[in-house]
């Protein structure tokens, strides 16, 4: 900054009192300080630049790209140019006539030439089950198509006259679509284009979203109830003993997730250790073994155990520096032990509780492998269906829509959490 600018700054704020303070080379102190700080900020930025670039390349970019798929699917629009044109020239209510079928015939021929019938069929099949083979079969016979096209195509398969098929193709003809979000919310469009709930026997996603949130909240609560006394014990014992105990907390943390989940199967299954002991000691008879795994109970028990360290560690780090003399002072002033705990100790642990609860909840919401192994049929979470669409059905757009909804839900909860508890109040360790 030159002198003129410095003078202008001075003129703009006449109340400034550092008029006479200058550095050794005669520049105003404030300007020199700002410059030095800017330099430090630049250096700090350069230091984090590799990490920032890493996060952008390996995290932000792929996730954005994947989430973009939830609204963008060009499989139809890229490969069916004639029909896309017909849709753009004719309004919603136009009955597909000879010109539409002529466009369809020319697209089917190009599907045959480019061998892209599978791609287009798969896209339409997402919205209208059973139509993939309609495309592959018709494309195979496309070279023989002669006008009048309507008759020729309906000769291959009558299903081409289905108004719902034309509605679905119209929707798919735009690469930007909301239909995957509709599907992720158990909704669909009928032949007139109205949004309707899907048949009751196939509604699943909303229920799983609710169950995921409920189970995650429950697991957070159980880890808090189990973890709080343990963290307190760790924080108050002499260092030698608490270090030993800490190893017991961390040991499972260092063990492979699959090993821990499998151990729970060994313990909990109906021919497992716990049931066998209860049968042997006569608590249960052989016929009435308790089913503790391959259901919701299994998911809750195994996930509570696996996520427990994420609750204990932040709690411990907050409890360790709490000075025991506060509680002692409260007791000496006549507070009962409950009052002293409730009014003096508990409020000081809030940052740890807040951090632990947030960590456990967010991890639980996205958990996948444990519910897949021990959850049976009613212990599945939404992430299991996201994985299903990523790996098995290969409907990445639907998987992305589900993931985006889950992300949105978590962000809303995070915002609520910030309003209620305050993110500044959070201490992770």
């Amino acid at each position: 900054m030159n002198d003129a600018a410095a003078n202008a700054a001075k003129a703009a704020s006449p109340e400034m009192s550092d008029d006479h303070l200058t550095t050794a080379d005669g520049r105003p102190l404030k300007v020199a300080l700002a410059e030095a700080q800017a330099k430090a900020r630049r250096r700090a930025f350069l230091l984090v630049l590799p990490l920032l670039a890493f996060i952008l390349v390996s995290f932000v970019f792929p996730i954005t790209q994947l989430l973009y798929r939830s609204v963008y699917n060009p499989a139809f629009s890229d490969n069916m140019p004639a029909l896309v044109q017909w849709f753009s020239e004719n309004s919603d209510s136009t009955e597909p006539g000879e010109d539409a079928f002529a466009a369809l015939a020319s697209d089917l021929k190009s599907l045959r030439e480019n061998k892209t019938a599978g791609i287009v069929g798969t896209r339409v099949n997402y919205d209208l089950p059973g139509s993939r083979s309609l495309f592959t079969k018709s494309a195979r016979k496309a070279s023989k198509l002669e006008p009048p096209y309507r008759e020729a195509i309906l000769d291959i398969d009558e299903d081409w006259a289905d108004p719902l098929l034309w509605r679905v193709m119209r929707t798919a003809s735009s690469p930007i679509t909301g239909s995957f979000y509709l599907a992720a919310l158990d909704r669909t469009r009928d032949a007139e284009g109205n949004i309707q709930p899907v048949a009751e026997e196939r509604q699943v996603y909303i229920k799983l979203f609710k169950r995921t949130l409920f189970l995650s909240a429950l697991i957070t609560l159980t880890t808090l109830i189990l973890g709080f006394p343990v963290a307190h014990l760790l924080a108050t014992l002499p260092l030698r003993q608490s270090n030993l105990l800490m190893i017991f907390v961390l040991l499972p943390f260092w063990t492979s997730l699959l090993v821990r989940t499998t151990s729970w199967i060994v313990l909990l299954q109906s021919q497992g250790v716990i049931n066998n002991v209860m049968v042997a000691t006569g608590v249960l008879d052989d016929e009435s073994r308790i089913q503790m795994i391959y259901n919701q109970t299994g998911t809750i028990i195994a996930m509570t155990h696996i996520l427990l360290p994420f609750m204990i560690l932040p709690l411990y780090s907050v409890m360790r520096p709490i000075d025991p003399s506060y509680v002692r002072a409260a007791r000496s002033l006549g507070a009962s032990s409950w009052t002293a705990f409730r009014r003096i100790y508990l409020p000081q642990t809030v940052p740890g509780v807040a951090a632990g609860a947030l960590l456990v909840f967010i991890l639980a919401v996205g958990y996948y492998i444990t519910p897949a192994l021990v959850g049976g049929s009613n212990g599945q979470l939404i992430s299991n269906l996201i994985a299903f669409h990523m790996q098995k059905s290969l409907n990445w757009s639907l998987a992305a829509a589900l993931a985006a909804l889950l992300l949105g839900g978590v962000l809303i909860l995070y915002w609520l959490y910030d309003r209620l508890i305050g993110i500044d109040n959070l201490k992770l360790g």
């Binding site: 019938a117 599978g118 069929g121 099949n125 699943v204 109906s270 049929s377 098995k392 409907n395």
Partner: protein
């Protein structure tokens, strides 16, 4: 994946520099590739002098798309699953295979009639048949289950059942257990009534089902006594029973057959050798030879009679083949076209049914 690609490229590169006459075959690794090396690879090189380079992959279908689209194809032959063979072919990533180049059976039956139904497609030739079967632990079942209907009969055979958590195979088995002949299963599943009927049958044992997802789970569940019967891949049960001595038995009634197939990626560098290799490997004797290394069945009818003993030298393989005459009595061939159309739809309904 990337590592595989680099490895593949490097391997192929070296091999290319070494000899002109060669073929690069990508398969699944482990005991499966070993069976192919012994039964196809070694005799092929001995007879033709063409060197076979074996490359392992987690799923050989995965690199094909990447290689063809990048225009840098290094694989000549890949061993893929049915669904991938059809999908890659529909997307134009595979060479078409002329069925007339395949050798006829020893008795002169043309290849097109000798191969099992569905084993030949425009772009693929099947080499083995694997199957989803029902198996039980003889120590834990009271009596002897003999049919798929027994799987759903918890009164006659009380105890938990293991089933794969997927609509595929599960719905077909439910219908067959309900008395639908194998030949009508897929027609019935095309209709809403048929699907309702399958789910109604599943409802009768829903509370007794333990769902599995990985192929290693059913033998474990059976050994632990957690279930008394389970569906499973036949190779897993064979290994547990013969190699580990577990008291497992397979009930072949209502089994569902699937193929593994050879395909040639579009633009394969040694396309001619690839076709020669496929024709050689899928002849009657080679397919029969492979069966003595692993309990998967040959994809040709004429190979069945030639299947010998397991490598331990004492176990006759024939009765362990999903393609043995007894096993094929009431067997269903997985209909890929049906599942390509209905997979999403039926699995959505299946997932909804599960969570209710």
């Amino acid at each position: 994946m990337k590592k595989t690609l680099i490895l593949t490229t490097a391997l192929a590169g070296f091999a290319f520099a070494a000899t002109a006459q060669e073929v690069n075959v990508m398969s699944w690794g482990g005991a499966y590739t070993k069976s192919q090396v012994e039964a196809y690879g070694k005799p092929f090189t001995a007879e033709t002098g063409i060197k076979v380079n074996w490359i392992d992959a987690d799923n050989p279908a995965t690199p094909i798309k990447a290689q063809v689209e990048a225009g840098n194809v290094t694989i000549d032959v890949a061993d893929v699953e049915y669904s991938d063979a059809i999908r890659l072919c529909d997307e134009g990533l595979l060479e078409e295979i002329d069925h007339s180049m395949l050798p006829p059976a020893p008795d002169g039956t043309p290849a097109e009639e000798d191969f099992l139904e569905g084993a030949l497609t425009d772009c693929a030739v099947a080499n083995i048949v694997w199957s989803t079967v029902m198996a039980y632990n003889t120590d834990n079942v009271n009596g002897q289950p003999t049919s798929i209907a027994d799987f759903f009969d918890t009164e006659k055979f009380p105890g938990k059942r293991g089933l794969r958590k997927s609509a595929k195979a599960t719905l077909e088995m439910a219908l067959m257990a309900d008395g639908v002949p194998a030949g009508e299963v897929y027609d019935m599943l095309e209709t809403k009534e048929g699907v309702d009927r399958a789910f109604a049958k599943l409802d009768t044992i829903k509370d007794d089902i333990i769902w599995w997802e990985a192929g290693a789970q059913p033998p474990q569940l059976l050994a632990d006594g957690e279930v008394v019967m389970s569906t499973a891949y036949n190779g897993r049960i064979f290994n547990a029973a013969v190699a580990e001595g577990q008291p497992f038995e397979i009930v072949w009634d209502g089994q569902i057959l699937d193929y593994d197939l050879f395909v040639v990626p579009k633009g394969a560098p040694n396309k001619d050798n690839a076709m020669k290799f496929i024709a050689f490997a899928t002849d009657t004797q080679r397919l029969a030879d492979q069966a003595s290394w692993i309990s998967y069945g040959p994809a040709r009818r004429s190979s069945g009679a030639l299947v010998g003993k397991y490598v331990d030298g004492k176990t006759e393989m024939a009765p362990h083949m999903p393609t043995s005459e007894a096993a094929l009595k009431n067997a269903l061939v997985n209909n890929f076209e049906f599942w390509a159309d209905r997979d999403t739809d039926l699995n959505e309904r299946f997932n909804a049914w599960l969570s209710n």
